[in-house]
Symmetry: C2
Amino acid sequence: MPPLPDPSLSRLFNPRSIAIVGASATPGKIGAMPVSLLRQHGYDGRILPINPRAQAVQGLPTAPDLAALDSEADLVILAVPAAHAAQALARARPGQVGGAVVFTSGFSETGAPGVAMQEQLCGIARERGIRLLGPNCLGFMNIRRNIYATFSPAPANGTVAPGGIGMVSQSGAFGAYAYCMARDRGLGLSHWISTGNEADIDVADCIEWLAHDDDTRVIMTYMEGCRDGTKLRRALSAARDAGKPVVVTKIGRTQAGAQAAASHTAALAGDDAVYDALFRQYGAVRARTIEEFFNLGYALDTWKQRPQGKRLGIFTISGGVGALMADDAQDAGLSLPEPAVEAQARLLERVPFASARNPVDVTGQAVSEPGLLLATAEDMLADDRYDALAVFLAAAGSSEALGPTFETFAREMRARRPNVPLAICALFPPARRRELERLGALVFTDPSAAIRTIGAVANLATDTDADVDVDADVTTIASDDAAPKLASYNEVQAMAVLREAGMPVPDCTLATHADAAVLAAARAGGPVVLKVVSPDILHKSDIGGVKLGLSGDDAVRRAHDAILDNVRAHRPDARIDGILVAPMAPQGVECIAGVHCDPVFGPVVMFGLGGVFVEVLKDVSFRLAPFGRQQALSMIREIKGYALLQGARGAPPCDIDALADALVALSRFAYSRRKDFSSAEINPLLALPEGKGALALDAVLIPTV
Amino acid sequence: MPPLPDPSLSRLFNPRSIAIVGASATPGKIGAMPVSLLRQHGYDGRILPINPRAQAVQGLPTAPDLAALDSEADLVILAVPAAHAAQALARARPGQVGGAVVFTSGFSETGAPGVAMQEQLCGIARERGIRLLGPNCLGFMNIRRNIYATFSPAPANGTVAPGGIGMVSQSGAFGAYAYCMARDRGLGLSHWISTGNEADIDVADCIEWLAHDDDTRVIMTYMEGCRDGTKLRRALSAARDAGKPVVVTKIGRTQAGAQAAASHTAALAGDDAVYDALFRQYGAVRARTIEEFFNLGYALDTWKQRPQGKRLGIFTISGGVGALMADDAQDAGLSLPEPAVEAQARLLERVPFASARNPVDVTGQAVSEPGLLLATAEDMLADDRYDALAVFLAAAGSSEALGPTFETFAREMRARRPNVPLAICALFPPARRRELERLGALVFTDPSAAIRTIGAVANLATDTDADVDVDADVTTIASDDAAPKLASYNEVQAMAVLREAGMPVPDCTLATHADAAVLAAARAGGPVVLKVVSPDILHKSDIGGVKLGLSGDDAVRRAHDAILDNVRAHRPDARIDGILVAPMAPQGVECIAGVHCDPVFGPVVMFGLGGVFVEVLKDVSFRLAPFGRQQALSMIREIKGYALLQGARGAPPCDIDALADALVALSRFAYSRRKDFSSAEINPLLALPEGKGALALDAVLIPTV
């Protein structure tokens, strides 16, 4: 993994000295909270209260301003009104301050005067080389080092344990809630960061920094939008390279949500479908709900070993709930292989009325026979057949008497099968639940949540989407500034450009007179299609501008002339570039590929099936350009109509590899020529039968103006 | 509502005397548990232990068998091994025993000898007029009357409160778990029933009985399958008529789940899609997970007033989480109208940086200003604009200091806006949560779960699917036994039968010679289509058996003869019924309607769009025949391709009312002729533009053999 490009965040998040501008002795004030939290939790660096109107604050001597401070302050907390923040920071000496956290609101989130104040603050910070967290944020906590650079009241009601989760939230309220949820669910955090207005440091910066932080194993982040797509890609890619899963909640999935998000963030957030593509592309897991967000964090934090595949073993004391869990497993994309034949025999020998398939159901017998749990699990796991095990214990979990049995089970499983992550579904008393978690087992009351979580985590490990070429691409594909560019592209020109870019384009000719058309048709060798090419005519067929299936010189010549006659009759003023001559397309499935330019993430490639699929069902997939073959294959498989490409309705399967290659070529073209083209559409992109390739039959390229 | 058809279950579930056969003094034995539970919880009827080997059990005098008992036993609990159960029950005198609960396993779930034992037991019960619960079940509890006819250990770890939820579970393990969940989540139950092998009483019987039970307001049920579809329909319809919502969990949604369910229940369970249709049709809510099951039960139990519409007000102290909740609201089918203009003005006056739209975001200000919560809610609700209110309090819920503020808020809301159900999302200490629930508010930690629950409950109230004609139909549409029936139906005969049934069928004629064809074409008045009709030819077009767009006598005659020539050339042995003459179909959207016979529920009508929609995307909807117009409209709207019928891609909207009428006619036909036909397919069923109707262009009817 490349080293952290800019170490300045380390000074901010790991400060050896913290100055609090606006430090206060009045409990509950935002300038009092960090001082008392830092002292109370035993921060081992220097705490430097700044207050011109007090000699001491909470027993610590103060300085009137940063200039009067005789030492460095790796971190400055600005807990003063917005109007005074810039001025206070301006008192810093060059190099004295590493970073500043600005709590106060009243900046860019409040309109034009606030925007101006925020810009002034940023300017001063930039001049002095100070990194800025906020303004309008709840600050951050470095949990392991007891650094509470926050005024959130959340830690006052109980602190979270130190652990491996780095949590970054754009929203302070979400962050505070997440802090409380983590505490209640027993998750351990390394860092907790709220980024607020993101005048300088944004969520992407924090993800990238946490990707390089040794204390962090898992990154959980909440975001509302992003202004620098390239930086976010770099950050997600750093996390992936470091093997640290990223769990993301991003608002604005739906139209209603996006509208609410826009009115809340007042920022251009980019198209949500593009974020979705981004997360898939970089293997980040998107959580749709806070519950899902925490279930994922919980699993990633609790399990020392994540499932390495998608083969789930389910074992229950209720056949019915087992079937319910099988439903969930199928929904979650998990497979349920049967236990080995010998294992099934042993299971049935032990419990004759058991169901020995998967889900295995050992019936209520498990309650009266303490050893049965472990014996069953051991039988199932004997030949390395499962990547994870989910156990449902029904009401037995509530029984205090059976508690030791369950603990023994979890302990032995960890000792004997450390590679098979375990989830137990039951209602346990809280202390028992915590003990089982300490032993490495997940505990859920809802079996469906357990299965969904296992599925999502297994996906992380086995995701074939992870396409490690991507970053290389982003950095190695230069913008092709030397490429020639026209003011507009007719169909033939567009096809030529795409052929040059490696797209499969049929050999077509723009004939400017009948003889040329006849010659081109003869060269094509088989029946041809003739189409008028004109910047003024959109619907060529409607005015007789297209003739299909022409064979022989005469037919071609007659068609050529007829097209010209038709065009002149219907659209006498149309400019005519010529008549396109192309071989008749073979049979295939019509697809559509397109490129549009996202304001945040740049060129995005779209893929879908032609006809009702795109137009009525909006059945399309996206990826950020450029991408490699794995991504292309996964975006093809992602559409609901994929079965049609696999050869539904008795048709032969399509050449999906060729389609993927075409998409890769399109993505590289879109990225390298991102300055030249604002959009592209290839419609139809014909998928031919396996081994026969794909064909871009028509294309529109819109140059940037 | 009609009276309970059979009061025998009331005697069983409300017994004034309970005999326990196999009563035991040994703690933990299945014959000991009910005796001790009944005594411990103060059952006020007679407890009659039966044990031939003890004078007294747990201090109560015993009888050696039922015959020796000098009194009636409204309920007998059989806690003896399977092999002795029938014999024990056989000792009952006629009329002495109302019902029996059989705990023991080893009956039909274990294979042939068990099936025989179960049949013997049933025979004895039937002879003596004894209703049977079980065998292989955990019994039941009548919570309000302290009747614990169960050996489930669940109540031993704490009992649930009496309340309005009647819970019925086919699975004992699920039932026991549900009991514990209800206890943990503070839900109140009226009855808890486990039906086990369902030798006599099944889930449907219990639903119907609970629909008539005054103590029950909500029915929650878990089922694995059903053997008597008509009874289940009657039960769901009784619950609907009584205004009691039914929440259902049924296993086997997916292929994996159905496979697991089949191996568990070893019973024919019917097609899951048909259950899904059934639940929609009768307004039962299907919960996909145990979490969802309980969230629904929780809302239906806690809210005294359910939302009467789908307009949701969201108010938060976090704009970001508000947007997340807006996403969920859209997914849940809820609308988010803005507050009134004056309300927005008042909101912004109070909190200038608030977002006054919906979601309303009053920012962290709400924490420092206790009155703000109520004032904001009052503003939003002033003009009756919302059917429910969801509030997100972020981390503030954890604050002990703010607790009284939240309680005041909930109390005042209940007093001032009793018609607007309230859900609060926050992490509260348990006692505070219970107090808020007591005040009628739902409390969730996950805002998404809150929104989904509100959506599902709002659906119950506003469901236009509730089509009260259905039952009338089921009972009034007699089986039309007098209808003539052929051994097989050719296309023309099938069309004639469907026309008779009220389906829109074009006027077509079967011509047996060329003159007849010419005459029929002349009568049709416009261009016609000619098709060969033969039981031996499936793909007519492939052999030149279809001619389209024919005008004029000559053209028709030539086409007639050509078709016969083609058929004779390709299929010299084919029997030819004649040549069908039909008007050319107008432009329309091709749909497919079908009927198949479900082994449990009888004729089921299917609807979908033609082409890839049915074949590739499996985009179809189902309803049990017969049904009325609302159901037909809802099954049309349910398909994903519905937009195509609304006039996508510039096409005019289709005549959806006519389509619905056609489906209603098909459903009535399928039901009344259910003994005659095993399946029907109308393909295509053409949907014409609005006001122009629909047309069944081709039909296949398969008579039962």
